[in-house]
Amino acid sequence: MIEPFASLVAPFVEFGFMRRALAGCLALSVSAPPVGVFLTLRRMSLMSDAMSHAILPGAAAGFLVAGLSLPAMTLGGLVAGLAVALLAGAVTRATVVREDANLAAFYLISLAGGVLLVSLRGSQIDLMHFLFGSVLALDDAALMLLGGISTLTLAALAVIYRPLVLECVDPLFLRTVSRGGGPVHLAFLALVVVNLVGGFQALGTLLAVGLMLLPAVAARFWARDLGGLIPVSMLIAAIASVAGLSLSYRFDLPSGPAIVLAAGALYVASMLAGPRDGLLRRLARPRHLEA
């Protein structure tokens, strides 16, 4: 008889690389989902997808210069992502074209540049590493990076929380009372980029978005206000990390996709059974109240 709890824990007890993977994913689980919560509330969910593509040329440039080196690729990704975010933000403020359109324009330019760079020198295997990451091979430097990103994100969110909420709800009002709207918006975009760069170490560019958005979207079926959404999204991400890593170990699956699929399964379950507007609750249709 297999003990379910023991089989869940065993791989992490037995193998150091599993513990490292878990630590990295948990660090990402407390920082990326809150950013995702704000993205979904701003109806910018797809923006993170665009940004994850925008990071590619920077990472590729780092790879071309220094090979498969973490600092070079991270720095390249940060520079490319921040450049796209800042340029799109600046053009949006200076012209009448909306931010999503500007972002689309800049990320397409960036992505095409990245594909060009990778194809100039890289092989297919290198590209796969970009796209799907290597969570089972996190070294000390990568763990430090993930921990640092997590710390930075939580501290920054605490500092810009109120103006960020105001900027989401009523940007015009924030403009009339403070000049902070622009810097806060850019700081938030920078957090998106930083978390995606962190995520692409662990999960790869394509799947980094998954751990940012799926828990955030799933949380909407459990909590109503920000005070609930943020912790619930963190919890869902943490559960997805543990479950995904266990499953990937047990069934010999690639770990990045396993984690994101676990988060996807939690999203579907939340959508069906969540107490806030879950589909099953809709079917039940309880009797209305008196007032």
Binding site: I160, C168, V169, D170, P171, R224, D225
Partner: protein
């Protein structure tokens, strides 16, 4: 009013032209909103009332001339950009008005009584914990008024503030405007209900892109002036010629010290 200590004029308009894509929506407007004014902006649709308020709030750039502003200005737009699906309570929405005092980090807890009092003033007691998305259009507007109360600004700009609000609440809010007026605050409101304007607003600016008349309400809202405002074209002429009027780029051509109280610039050449 002349007995009061001289306060700086909160808003001065100098040769002001505001508009979109070089087409003026407010044309060659001069005048001063004085401290303590309760001023109604009246005019047909497309007359430039909202544009003028946006300009006063600093939301759009002047095509020509300038707006001189002194001090903090609170602005309630006609069509707000507020995302009402955002999970925010009525208490938090109204509490935004405390930004100048609480800033980004200080706690709102010790202001809770003030927020509740402001909500009670607009008839929203008991709504504190409700998400803003569950309010009706008129209730939401009232919550914005509560925020305005908490902003506690010396100058308040309101763009059709009573749209969608029931009669009883409008009475309450008009009483609030009168109270602000009594406290010496400056209130500028764009309105369509002439009866309301005549009953509650001592001064009126009748606007039809160009100013038709600016002064005491009884002298502004005459049948002739209203007919003139209606007659002024609302059309946007795609091939309009470049305006040959004087550019108001710098000089102080206007003497602001010499006016009797309530006597504003009258633009009689409105064509």
């Amino acid at each position: 009013m002349s007995a009061r200590p001289a306060q700086p004029d909160p808003i001065r308009l100098v040769g002001l032209t505001l508009g979109y894509d070089r087409h003026p929506a407010v044309h060659h407007l001069d005048g001063t909103v004085r401290a303590g004014d309760l001023l109604a902006l009246v005019g047909p649709n497309g007359a430039g009332k909202s544009t003028l308020l946006k300009g006063m709030a600093g939301e759009i750039r002047c095509l020509d001339g300038r707006i001189e502003r002194a001090g903090a200005i609170a602005y309630m737009p006609q069509a707000d950009e507020i995302d009402r699906s955002f999970p925010l309570s009525v208490l938090d929405l109204a509490g935004m008005g405390l930004w100048r005092r609480a800033g980004a980090w200080r706690s709102l807890n010790r202001h809770r009584a003030a927020i509740e009092a402001a909500l009670a003033t607009v008839g929203l007691e008991g709504f504190e914990a409700r998400p803003v998305g569950t309010l009706s259009g008129g209730q939401f507007r009232r919550a914005l008024f509560a925020r305005l109360i908490l902003q506690d600004c010396p100058v308040v700009l309101l763009d059709e503030p009573f749209t969608g609000i029931d009669a009883r609440t409008v009475e309450d809010l008009l009483a609030l405007l009168r109270r602000w007026h009594g406290e010496g605050r400056t209130v500028v409101a764009a309105l369509h209900d002439l009866g309301q304007v005549q009953a509650h607003f001592p001064t009126t600016l009748l606007l039809a892109r160009a100013p038709v008349s600016w002064g005491p309400t009884a002298r502004v809202l005459t049948p002739e002036n209203l007919a003139r405002a209606r007659a002024l074209s609302e059309a946007w002429d795609e091939d309009a010629a470049i305006c040959a009027g004087p550019r108001a780029s710098g000089g102080h051509a206007h003497d602001h010290g010499a006016h009797a109280p309530g006597d504003h610039h009258h633009h009689e050449d409105a064509a």
